[in-house]
């Protein structure tokens, strides 16, 4: 078990190094930080001083190593746009994005999985057909359109829910949460639905497809032939067998939620990292973009690790060589 986790973490190191390299290359070669930071008017002495201060006069790999080392300590340089440490900017924005993504993910799983199970078991029921049509909308409508339609209905027409921002937040040390105030929670609803709708419908369709597949399998037929109850068959035997592929996709999709909350955050002016990224791209604020890239890589690596651990818990076939670290799926 421990060896398994360790091997997984070791496998992630090259991934992070490569992403770090790309983001460093961006940092070093895209745009000219010196001109951006000094503006139009500067003396040669000022330029040399700044180049030296930024370490740009050192060999490439030394710069890369330094950059990675600093990144490891949460130091991603100074934002060109805001003239503040990128680490601080991200730390301020991270809670908003994580709370939004988490809410969307929970919503997508808690609604998507049961809907998928239902439509898989009661394939021909009217409710199933309605779910399927609804899911087509969820998969095909672009996120910004869903967001705008929701705002139109619930904020503009009905006036029930706020259309932008996080509402009231409560601060704990470096974390700000909207979970604890009524306005914070209300503000979360529309963005969370907008962000999670695609994932929810995708999960539903996937679970349905997997259920249909598993329900045709021999072991389900044999479970029926043994007289097990419908409940035991559907939830004990069938659902569990759909979990391995479903966990994979859910993992990837949750990574996607964090990475691609950009559109939703823009539509709802949600003060998270996505909004920060959009604002940074507008002015080519490379340090912020580079840091964002690395952070997303870390998120994906963590999710992958969790997915692998869940596989391990669900499927005894992966536990076969106890003690020996076996990779692969």
């Amino acid at each position: 078990m421990f060896a398994f986790i360790l091997s997984r973490i070791l496998q992630a190191v090259p991934v992070l190094l490569v992403v770090g390299f790309i983001s460093y290359a961006m940092f070093a070669f895209v745009g000219d930080p010196v001109t951006i930071m000094l503006g139009q008017d500067y003396t040669e002495a000022q330029r040399v001083a700044l180049v030296h201060q930024l370490g740009l006069d050192q060999p490439f790999f030394v710069q890369y190593a330094k950059y990675m080392w600093a990144a490891l300590h949460g130091n991603f340089g100074i934002s060109y746009r805001m003239a503040r440490p990128v680490g601080d900017l991200i730390a301020e924005r991270l809670p908003a994005t994580l709370e939004l993504s988490l809410t969307s993910a929970v919503l997508a799983v808690l609604v998507g999985v049961p809907m998928g199970v239902y439509t898989g078991i009661r394939r021909n029921a009217v409710v199933s057909r309605i779910f399927m049509i609804f899911s087509l909308l969820g998969v095909s409508l672009p996120t910004f359109l869903i967001g705008i339609l929701l705002i139109l209905l619930f904020s503009v027409v009905l006036g029930w829910l706020p259309s932008f921002g996080r509402g009231d937040v409560v601060h704990f040390a470096h974390w700000s949460t909207g979970f604890l105030t009524p306005l914070g929670l209300k503000s979360l609803i529309l963005p969370a639905i907008t962000l999670g709708l695609f994932q929810m419908t995708l999960i539903m369709r996937l679970v349905r497809a997997e259920m249909l597949e598993v329900l045709r399998s021999d072991y389900i037929k044999f479970a029926r032939a043994r007289g097990l109850s419908q409940r035991a068959i559907n939830f004990g035997h069938a659902l569990k067998n759909t979990l391995v592929p479903v966990i994979t996709i859910i993992g990837l999709q949750i990574g996607g939620l964090v990475a691609f909350s950009i559109v939703t955050e823009t539509v709802f002016q949600w003060p998270g990292m996505g909004l920060l990224l959009v604002q940074s791209i507008g002015v080519a604020d490379i340090p912020v973009m580079a840091a964002y890239l690395q952070l997303i890589a870390v998120v994906f690596v963590c999710i992958n690790l969790i997915v692998d651990l869940l596989y391990y818990a669900v499927d005894p076939r992966l536990r076969m060589d106890r003690g020996r670290a076996t990779g692969g799926h």
Binding site: F222, L228, R317
Partner: protein, 324 residues
């Protein structure tokens, strides 16, 4: 009264191009403690017959006619939950491929205990003890330690033993074994058949044994039913059907048993193929392939009739022919 009585069973599949009649008037019975062998070419309807008996026809397949009686009481029209109580408890089933019939995610012990507790009111401890006992009975070595192992940790033959334990653990009175050894290594087929036969005898369980292996039938079955194109062509005592097949189709089948005693090749193929369900010929379904075909065969369809000690669906045995 027979344990199982199948009367005039008809199974149909509604399709876009009309109704396919896959089983057409199948009638037979199985006595308590008896082993009935069922043979026939692929597609003859052997598996469908078994599925109809345990009430697990895959939709859109449905029982369109006839009756199925267990101990004289109809079971083909029971509500789903009452039929469920019969499956596993009164009628067990053994499937073909042990590699796919066990749920890969649960230990064999869990699957056994779950089945036992579905049908018998036993505490967890008693159910587990019974599971161990069954694993021992089907010949799993070190059953007490192996009970928590997962299916993938067993070989194919061992898994089929587990499947047999699962099918028998609630002591059903009839077990339907649909080609239980086809997917197994030839070297262990005989062991599995012997195990099934012995357990059935010990517990007084009746067996409906579907197989392509005439050798297995000859060794194991008391009676044998030969199926052709969704109907029973011949049914009778096993020695009779094997040694003196009445129906020309059975004759052809028996002709294709490789004989160990006569090293001479007795393998004789019946020419042609079984008709598709959409193109069953008028009269006797076997007539295009039959060497003894005569006029009546192409017009009227024969039902089962007395043919020596067996019963055969063949006009050769019509009463009016007998005294011609």
């Amino acid at each position: 009264m027979s344990l199982l009585d199948v009367q005039d069973l008809t199974v149909e599949f509604p399709t876009r191009r009309g109704v396919l009649r896959a089983l057409d008037g199948v009638s037979f019975s199985i006595e308590a403690g008896e082993v009935l062998g069922v043979v026939g070419e692929s597609g003859a309807g052997k598996s469908l017959t078994g599925a109809a008996i345990i009430g697990l026809l895959e939709p859109p397949g449905r029982v369109a006619g006839g009756r199925i009686l267990l101990d004289g009481a109809r079971i083909d029209d029971l509500p789903a939950d009452r039929m469920r109580a019969i499956r596993g408890k009164q009628i067990g089933a053994i499937f073909q491929d042990p590699l796919t019939t066990l749920n890969p995610l649960y230990s064999i012990g869990r699957q056994l205990v779950e089945t036992i507790q579905t049908h018998l009111r036993l505490s967890d401890r008693d159910a587990r003890a019974r599971a161990v006992k069954w694993l021992e009975d089907v010949g799993i070595p070190a059953a007490r330690e192996r009970i928590d192992a997962y299916p993938h940790e067993f070989s194919g033959g061992m898994r089929q033993r587990v499947v047999i334990a699962l099918a028998l653990c609630a002591e059903p009175r009839l077990v339907i074994a649909d080609e239980p050894t086809t997917a197994l290594d030839v070297s262990i087929q005989a062991q599995i058949i012997a195990l099934l036969k012995n357990l059935a005898r010990e517990h007084g369980t009746s067996v409906m044994l579907v197989t392509h292996d005439m050798g297995v039938i000859a060794e194991t079955a008391d009676r044998v039913a030969v199926m052709y194109a969704g109907r029973i062509a011949e049914i009778g005592p096993v020695r009779e059907v094997v040694k003196h097949p009445a129906h020309p189709y059975s004759e052809g089948l028996m002709g294709s048993i490789p004989s160990l005693t006569h090293r001479v090749e007795r393998l004789r193929q019946i020419d042609g193929a079984m008709p598709r369900l959409t193109a069953i010929p008028q009269g006797c379904a076997f007539n295009p392939r039959c060497e003894k075909v005569f006029d009546r065969c192409r017009v009227e369809r024969p039902d089962l009739m007395e043919a020596g000690r067996s019963r055969a669906a063949c006009w050769l045995y019509a009463a009016e022919n007998a005294h011609v």
